[in-house]
């Protein structure tokens, strides 16, 4: 399909999951991800797939674990408080080296928080969605088209490295509408899964999906092996968009919904003769360290803009290695920063008082 259709972010993502060959969705209701479930509840039975509303987020992610172990493309979606509940299962999925897709349409937190857009689960997604030594492959879309395009990417990269993937969206991208081009149905690339638990048919050794290793040296060996795959991901899977950064004095770093605001602010700054640019991390893990380090020599000031109290700014500072100052501006609780607010920050850093 090449023509553009106007779609809501959550629904476009759900349709992309079908195109990517995902036929198993396990979820639990929570705002603002509801449209993903509702859309797949309608569509899955029509394409011979499974939509199952679980009794809890905990059960939903464990159903994903079981489905992923069979080698099928399986996914769940939720919003922030529900993602916390999934963290147990995500750790087991990672520990069992299974690929699966988890969608987080973020809302404000902590606790029950609010239902308006937020980016306050950055730390959770990139540092600690569950116990133990592990990482997720984390993609941050900023447009509805990316909500669509990142679904097959998340499955493919997850399967290549045998890691769970997350699309870290938010209530704004989930709820807004934009024209999108949907991929051809079943454009999915199937990958070989010799590890899948499908019944041995008396033809091969038993396959076991397991994360329990009582032997300390065996567990250490497996964790080291897993981190070697993470190193490969850091080498080959970093993604970022660099916008007007070549000559920028002020480089703003922003992902997802806040990058849309920052793009407007950068354009406004340029119109006033301020050399501003933006780096937009697309993979939050692996973090696009290379794209940021390319700008260190030319950038005078970094500004990190997020819809939280300052989370990704830690990773930006690590990438900059203390060679430049990295400032932060954020709104939280579901408040979206305005381009004017960000422009003020850029002007101050450029030495031009507002």
């Amino acid at each position: 399909m090449s023509e553009k259709v106007l779609m809501k972010g959550n629904e476009a993502l759900a349709e992309a999951a079908l195109s990517a060959g995902c036929r198993h969705f396990f979820g639990y209701p929570i705002t603002p991800q509801t449209e993903i479930s509702a859309y797949l509840a309608k569509r899955m039975p029509k394409v011979g797939g499974v939509f199952l509303q679980a009794e809890s987020e905990v059960s939903a992610i464990n159903m994903v674990l079981g489905a992923a172990a069979t080698g099928h493309r399986a996914m769940t979606s939720s919003s922030s408080p529900g993602i916390s509940l999934k963290s147990e299962g995500v750790s087991y999925i990672a520990g069992s080296d299974l690929p699966a897709l988890i969608i987080n349409v973020q809302r404000g937190g902590p606790g029950l928080g609010g239902i308006q857009p937020s980016q306050s689960d950055y730390w959770q997604a990139t540092k600690a969605l569950g116990h133990g030594d592990f990482q997720l492959y984390v993609l941050a879309p900023s447009t509805i088209q990316e909500m669509v395009d990142f679904v097959p990417l998340a499955f493919e990269v997850g399967e290549k490295y045998r890691v769970p993937s997350m699309i870290l969206s938010d209530g704004m991208l989930g709820q807004m509408m934009e024209p999108v081009t949907l991929p051809d149905s079943d454009s999915a690339t199937a990958s070989d899964k010799p590890w899948a638990v499908t019944g041995h048919k008396n033809q091969r050794q038993r396959n076991i999906a397991n994360s329990l290793y009582i032997s300390t040296t065996e567990l250490e060996r497996l964790n080291i092996e897993r981190f070697q795959r993470y190193d490969e991901m850091k080498k080959h899977e970093q993604r970022a968009e660099s916008y007007l950064t070549e000559d920028a004095d002020v480089t703003v770093v922003a992902f997802g919904a806040s990058s849309r605001v920052v793009r407007s602010a950068v354009n406004a700054a340029r119109a006033q003769g301020i050399k501003a640019g933006m780096i937009r991390p697309i993979t939050l893990w692996p973090f696009p360290v290379d794209a940021i380090q390319k700008t260190i020599e030319t950038t005078k000031e970094y500004l990190c803009v997020e819809m939280n109290m300052g989370q990704m700014v830690d990773d930006v500072r690590l990438a900059v290695e203390g060679k430049r100052r990295v400032c932060f501006y954020g709104r939280t609780g579901g408040v979206i920063p305005t381009p004017a607010e960000v422009l003020e920050q850029i002007k101050t850093l450029a030495g031009k008082e507002a």
Binding site: V64, V197, A209
Partner: protein, 252 residues
């Protein structure tokens, strides 16, 4: 030379780690024999749960998935929904099934999830060293009920088969024991029925095996069997609590 007895092909050659007198070994063998006799070892996928039986993935001679504590029914659901023609079973203890995994158990049953559940009820947490379980008897001494389970503060034991028998999605809820030869044979028959129900797409089948834990009960294997008869069976009567194959309504 004529072979008069062979170990079931349903079990691997890995030596069991279970304590002397523990009934896990008997139940493992029964499950292995049933899988072999039904000819489903090649399509079976078992789900090991957290507890003493977590290592069952080393023993059952079929593909296995190890589930988080209590989540075996959810994991089995995910497997079964992807592989509806495979035989999917869970093997769970009482803490796993009736405490941390109660929600998963009740909802798998009420959905009529077409899986077979082997439930080992020995009234104690074995692997962690003998703490009070949801099925610990009133007055029973454990590490975390050192003065005996006081129902005023620790509540009452859960009778799982009776509870699940109330749900429309349950096809079979049967409580058995393996404390003597007759009961072992009856247990095997029940386990076989539980797997046949799945093959015939009848829904959720649970076979509860009232079991022993000599180590954490602080008894010899022989004393454990007697303790089971004197204390467990009066509280957990053996019997069929629901069976849709006997004139009941079939669940599709």
């Amino acid at each position: 030379m004529a072979v008069v007895f062979e170990k079931t092909k349903g079990l691997t050659d890995a030596p069991f780690h279970y304590c002397p007198g523990c009934t896990h070994g008997i139940v493992h063998r029964l499950v292995g024999e049933v899988l072999e006799e039904l000819g489903v070892l090649g399509t079976a996928v078992g789900v090991a749960s957290v507890g003493c039986s977590v290592f069952s993935y080393n023993y059952f001679n079929c593909d296995m998935v190890q589930a988080p504590h209590g989540r075996a029914p959810a994991v089995a659901t995910g497997i079964k929904r992807c592989l509806p023609d495979n035989v999917v079973f869970t093997y769970q203890g009482d803490g796993d099934l009736a405490a941390i995994g109660t929600a998963e158990t009740v909802h798998a049953a009420t959905r009529g999830e077409n899986i077979t559940v082997i439930f080992i009820n020995n009234a104690i947490y074995g692997m962690t060293g003998g703490q009070m379980a949801p099925t610990t008897l009133p007055g029973q001494i454990t590490q975390t009920s050192p003065y005996g389970r006081d129902t005023a503060t620790a509540g009452h034991p859960i009778r799982v088969c009776e509870m699940l028998a109330t749900l429309d999605g349950t096809a079979l809820a049967q409580r058995v024991s393996v404390d003597n030869v007759k009961n072992v044979m009856a247990a095997k028959k029940a386990i076989k029925k539980g797997f046949e129900n799945q093959i015939n797409k009848r829904g959720y089948s649970i076979i509860e095996v009232v079991s022993t834990c000599p180590t954490n009960w602080g008894l010899s294997p022989q004393e454990s069997i007697q303790w089971l008869r004197d204390n467990m069976l009066p509280y957990y009567p053996l019997g069929v609590y629901k069976d849709v194959t006997e004139g009941g309504s079939s669940h599709e």
